[in-house]
Symmetry: C2
Subunit: 218 residues, 2 copies
Amino acid sequence: MSAPRTESGAGRLVAVLVVIFRVEAGRLQVLLIRRSAEPFKDSWSLPGGRLPPGSSLLEAAVHRLEVETGVSEVFLEQLYTFSDLDKGDSVAAAYWALVDRESARLARRNEWQPQWYDVDRLPALAFQNETVVQLALARLRNKLAYSNVAYSLLPPEFTLSQLQQAYEAILSHVLDKRNFRKRILALGIVEPTGRYSSEGRHRPAQMYRFRERRPVVF
Amino acid sequence: MSAPRTESGAGRLVAVLVVIFRVEAGRLQVLLIRRSAEPFKDSWSLPGGRLPPGSSLLEAAVHRLEVETGVSEVFLEQLYTFSDLDKGDSVAAAYWALVDRESARLARRNEWQPQWYDVDRLPALAFQNETVVQLALARLRNKLAYSNVAYSLLPPEFTLSQLQQAYEAILSHVLDKRNFRKRILALGIVEPTGRYSSEGRHRPAQMYRFRERRPVVF
DNA sequence: CCAAAAGTGTTGGCTGTACACCCATGT
DNA sequence: ACATGGGTGTACAGCCAACACTTTTGG
């Protein structure tokens, strides 16, 4: 049957995890927390928690993201649901999100000590959270090519060079400037705002914004 | 936290659904069953059931597929996990699979009356199973282009015309014969067996097999 | 005038698409 | 002989990758 039978017996423990990425100083980073409970107490893991009764998976993921970073209107998508991350009998629905380093601010006062880590220099993680991160990273790299996911990685206005730097950080290889601009402009995911970045000791740069601040796939 | 706390209180009900496709007589079909329990008793739905204690999601999906069709070595992949298919507090992990009409044989004696339905002529479904089917269909169409998913839709040996017919049934539009053959051969997902189909009142056709009988993505 | 980043075009290869005819077989 | 499906090639267009110099500004 496609749904629960009304019957007795405890169900499964359902957890929700969120892989939260940002780009900082040309590095792709993931948000990790220190576990405050057993098992794996004090080791690093992805933020997450038990799915509260009455809450949908998405609501729980949004809430967790908001608790950790303070942001909510960002790209957030289901990644995969795992049932064998630990030896217990639990099911973990993983989500992934992209946040802008300026608007995402970690709650410093948290009992778990949230920290950003470069994806290519992760510490040892609880359960098999490295698997989850790797899967999220693969999805991210994949979606970069044919969607506007990056919209929530950058501030509302940005230069094409900044966008390119974000792409390079994610893909971890350099891109040709002219081809990058051609491709992005041809995709039509951004448009010029008419304003110019003045923050250089250099030539001012045209600023752009994403046409859509929600997921669009091509 | 990324996993269960050891604590009291019942968890969630976790269900596993499977969207099983086949191609029959040029039509793409989905397997449906009649619900034998409330709610939605006697209406059609996707095969599924509660995730048994101690079982992983994949094991449960494999098992369900095997119960319904008798096959197990086929393409089977996680689709999406829903938490709002019904008004209850359950979570449903959906999988999708492709089976060959020759080897998949429905268990006739089931209390639920499994039946194949054309995807474009579904009856009213319980919960929001139409959503699930539509999502699975989108994934299937998408994956056709850059993977060998079709490997479990056809018998071990088949002609390129049969393969093309399967593609056309899934995409629901006709394909150019020469371009199709060029593309499939260039992808390298199939190879000639050297044998010839003799089942025509027509010219015998070269038979092919898939190089890999497990998912390969390009 | 120097350093630093912005901005800009062309070419060649590859890939995908459109399109029509002949062949082998069975009846 | 005819009906049925099997099998094949070419030409054009769009896309992607490689590649280097000039401009603007601040110091």
